[in-house]
C-alpha cells in the first residue's frame, strides 16, 4: 500500500462511483455506464487500484442463468477512506467536481 497512485480526473470519477454504494459489489459495465469511461480507460484504473490495495475484487459465485460469472469490484475499507480524502482534496483544489456539480 505504499504505492503512490497518480489520481487523474477519470480515477476520481471512478472513486466517486465506487463510493456511491461502498459496500455493494459492482461490475465493470455498470461502472463504465456510471462514469462514462470506456473499457480501455476503466480497467487500467481498476487494475492500479487493486494493485495498490484500495480495491477488492471477486468473481460472481452464483452466475445468473444464461450469463457467465462476472468480475465484481468494491473499495476496501482503507480504500474508502483514501478515496474520500482524495475526492475532498481534489474538490478543494478545484481540480475535480462531483458528477452532480458538473451536471
Amino acid at each position: 500500500m505504499g504505492i503512490r497512485l497518480r489520481v487523474s480526473r477519470q480515477t476520481l470519477d471512478l472513486l466517486e462511483a465506487l463510493l456511491l454504494h461502498p459496500s455493494q459489489w459492482q461490475h465493470g459495465y455498470a461502472l463504465s455506464q456510471q462514469t462514462g469511461l470506456a473499457s480501455g480507460t476503466l480497467y487500467p484504473i481498476l487494475m492500479r487500484l487493486e494493485k495498490s490495495g484500495w480495491l477488492e475484487t471477486h468473481w460472481e459465485d452464483l452466475p445468473v442463468s444464461g450469463r457467465p460469472p462476472r468480475h465484481l469490484y468494491r473499495l476496501s475499507s482503507s480504500g474508502r477512506e483514501w478515496a474520500r480524502e482524495e475526492l475532498r482534496a481534489a474538490q478543494q483544489s478545484k481540480f475535480w467536481k462531483p458528477a452532480e456539480g458538473r451536471a
Binding site: G28, Y29, P68
Partner: protein, 553 residues
C-alpha cells in the same frame, strides 16, 4: 471462468471473437482482467457498444503485453517473470536485459558505422589475402552498370581494371573507352598477357595511335606479339641464348621494341591508374579495399626480360657496326639504349621500372665508354666513365634510400596490425561466446535457472558481462584500426602526395601478416590443434569420472 454468451449481432460477434483470441495470448499474470472485460460483453445490446468495449479490451491486452515486455527487460538474462531470477553465483550484480541489449546494440552500432564497416571489410579482405570475394564481384558488376548508366567513364574504367573475369573486363574496358577516348590507356594497364586477355590488334592499334610518343605502348604491343612463343619456351625450360635467338628472329617484335627505345617518353600509366582508383574509391566507399588492391596489384609491368634482351641484341649489333668500321652507327645505337634507360628511370614510375631503366642505361654507357676508348676519343671516354659512376651511384642510392623510408613508413604498421588483429579476434570470440551464452540461457531458461554448478555460473557470468566485453573489444578494434583508416583516407584524398606503391603494399601486407589465425592454414597446425583439443576433452572426461567415482565411494 466460463466463457460469456456471444453477442447476437455480427459486429458484436467479431469484437467478441477478437477479444477471446487476445485472451488466449494474454500474459498469465493479468489474464484475469482480460476475462473480466470479456465477461461483460454479454451485457451490451448495441453492436457499436460491444465493438467499443472489445476495442478497449484489445487496448488493455496490448498494455499488458507491453508491461510484460518491460518487466521481462528488467530481469537479467534467463530470468522469467513467473520463476524469477537466480543469482549469478558471484558477488557481481546481474545486469537487466535492457542493459545487455543496449550494450549489444552499442557494439553492433559501432561496427555498422562507416568507419566500422571499413575496418571490418578491410580486415576480412586481409584474411582473404586481398582476393576478391563473391560480394566484391557483385559490387564491381553493379558499379559497371551504374557508372555506364550515369555516363561515368571513370567508374566503368575502374570496374574494368578491378574485374578479374578477363573477357568480361575487356568488354567493360571497351565501354569505358567508348565513353571517354582518353581512357584508352586502361587497355595497357591490366591486360598484359594474351593467355589471360583476348586483347585484339584493333585495341592495341587504338592504344598506339592515342599515345604514339609513349615507349610503354610499344613495349606492351611487343609483349603481346611475342607472348605465345615465350609461353612455349617457358614450358620447355627457357634458356637465354634460345630466347635471344627467338626474339631476334621476330621482325615485328624487333620493330616494336625499336620504336619503344626511340620513343621520346616513357609512362607505364601507374600514376593514372592510381589516380583513377583514388577518385572512384573516394566516391564509392562501399567498394572496400579488395577491388582497389586487386586493381593496383594487377597493373601491367613492362617485361624486364624483353627489355634487357633487346638491349643486349642492340649492343651486339653496335659491336658488329664497330667491327665493320662504322663507329658512328655503333655510337648512335648505344646512345639510343642509354637514352631509353634514362627515360625509363626518370619520372614517377614504380621502383622496379626505375631500376630496370638504370640497368639498361648502364649497359649502353658501358659500351659507349669502350667504344670511345677504342677509337681514341679520350675525353668522351672519361665523360662516359663519369656517367657510369653517376648511374651506379643512383642505383645504390635508390636501393639504400628506400630501406629506411620503407622501414619508417611500414614497420610501425606491423605493430599496429597486431593490435588490430588481436582486438578483432577478441571481439569475435567475445561476441560469439556472448551469443552462445545468451541463447543457452534464454532458450533453456528453466534449466539454467535451476542449475547451480560451475558450468551454469560461468554461463550466467558470460551472458551478463560478455556484452560489455564485446562493446569494449569492438571499440578497441575501431581504435586500433584508426592508423590504417587514416592511411586509407590519405590514400583516397585527391590532393595527397603520391604514396609509394611499395609502402602501400607493405602496410597492407603488415595487416595480412599479423593474422594469428593464418597458422591454421598449415595442415600440421590444424592437426596439432585438433589433437590437443581431443586430448583435453578426453582428459576432462577421465578426471570427471575419477572424481565422481571417489564421491560415490
Amino acid at each position: 471462468m466460463t466463457m460469456p454468451a456471444t453477442p447476437s449481432s455480427f459486429a458484436g460477434r467479431i469484437a467478441y471473437r477478437s477479444l477471446a483470441l487476445a485472451l488466449r495470448l494474454w500474459p498469465e499474470e493479468t489474464r484475469e482482467w482480460g476475462a473480466a472485460v470479456l465477461a461483460e460483453m454479454g451485457e451490451m445490446a448495441e453492436p457499436a457498444e460491444s465493438f467499443n468495449w472489445a476495442a478497449g479490451g484489445i487496448m488493455l491486452f496490448f498494455r499488458a503485453i507491453f508491461s510484460r515486455a518491460l518487466d521481462w527487460l528488467r530481469l537479467p538474462s534467463g530470468g522469467t517473470i513467473t520463476e524469477g531470477v537466480s543469482s549469478s553465483g558471484s558477488k557481481l550484480p546481474r545486469p537487466p536485459r535492457w542493459t545487455t541489449a543496449l550494450l549489444l546494440l552499442g557494439a553492433v552500432g559501432l561496427l555498422l558505422l562507416p568507419q566500422g564497416q571499413e575496418a571490418v571489410s578491410s580486415l576480412e579482405a586481409s584474411w582473404r589475402h586481398f582476393e576478391l570475394s563473391a560480394s566484391d564481384h557483385r559490387k564491381i558488376g553493379e558499379l559497371a552498370v551504374r557508372a555506364e548508366n550515369a555516363k561515368d567513364a571513370k567508374g566503368v574504367a575502374f570496374a574494368a581494371l578491378s574485374d578479374p573475369r578477363t573477357e568480361q573486363a575487356v568488354q567493360i574496358a571497351d565501354r569505358a573507352v567508348a565513353l571517354d577516348q582518353k581512357l584508352v590507356w586502361i587497355y595497357a594497364s591490366r591486360f598484359q598477357r594474351p593467355a589471360q586477355t583476348p586483347l585484339n590488334k584493333e585495341r592495341i592499334e587504338q592504344l598506339q595511335s592515342a599515345d604514339p610518343e609513349n615507349a610503354f605502348v610499344y613495349l606492351y604491343a611487343a609483349c603481346v606479339e611475342v607472348e605465345p612463343q615465350l609461353q612455349t619456351l617457358h614450358e620447355r625450360g627457357l634458356k637465354s641464348d634460345v630466347l635471344e635467338a627467338t626474339l631476334a628472329d621476330d621482325d615485328k617484335w624487333m620493330e616494336l621494341m625499336g620504336r619503344a627505345f626511340r620513343a621520346p617518353r616513357y609512362d607505364s600509366y601507374y600514376d593514372k591508374h592510381q589516380e583513377l582508383s583514388r577518385e572512384v574509391w573516394s566516391r564509392e566507399r562501399d567498394l572496400g579495399l579488395a577491388p582497389v588492391v586487386y586493381s593496383l596489384w594487377s597493373h601491367s609491368m613492362p617485361s624486364v626480360t624483353e627489355i634487357v634482351t633487346f638491349a643486349k641484341l642492340r649492343i651486339r649489333e653496335a659491336g658488329e657496326k664497330r667491327a665493320a668500321n662504322h663507329p658512328e652507327q655503333a655510337e648512335q645505337i648505344l646512345g639510343e639504349i642509354q637514352s631509353f634507360g634514362e627515360r625509363m628511370s626518370a619520372g614517377t614510375a614504380p621502383g622496379i621500372e626505375k631500376m630496370t631503366g638504370l640497368d639498361v642505361a648502364r649497359r649502353g654507357v658501358e659500351e659507349l665508354q669502350k667504344l670511345y676508348a677504342s677509337t681514341g676519343r679520350e675525353a668522351e671516354a672519361r665523360d662516359a666513365a663519369a656517367e657510369l659512376a653517376r648511374i651506379e651511384a643512383r642505383k645504390t642510392q635508390m636501393a639504400n634510400s628506400f630501406v629506411p623510408v620503407y622501414a619508417a613508413a611500414v614497420e610501425p604498421y606491423g605493430r599496429r596490425a597486431v593490435f588490430v588483429q588481436c582486438a578483432a579476434l577478441f571481439g569475435i570470440f567475445s561476441g560469439l561466446a556472448t551469443l552462445f551464452c545468451l541463447l543457452s540461457l534464454e532458450l533453456g531458461a528453466g534449466l539454467s535457472q535451476q542449475g547451480t554448478g560451475i558450468g551454469r555460473r560461468v554461463l550466467r557470468l558470460a551472458a551478463d558481462y560478455g556484452p560489455l566485453l564485446f562493446l569494449v573489444s569492438s571499440a578497441g578494434f575501431l581504435l586500433s584500426f584508426r592508423p590504417f583508416a587514416g592511411f586509407l583516407t590519405e590514400y583516397r584524398a585527391a590532393n595527397s602526395p603520391s604514396i609509394d606503391p611499395r609502402v602501400f603494399a607493405g602496410r597492407l601486407f603488415a595487416l595480412e601478416a599479423a593474422n594469428p589465425l593464418a597458422v591454421l592454414g598449415d595442415a600440421y597446425v590444424r592437426w596439432l590443434v585438433l589433437t590437443v583439443t581431443l586430448a583435453a576433452i578426453a582428459t576432462g572426461v577421465l578426471l570427471r569420472g575419477i572424481l565422481r567415482g571417489k564421491q560415490a565411494g
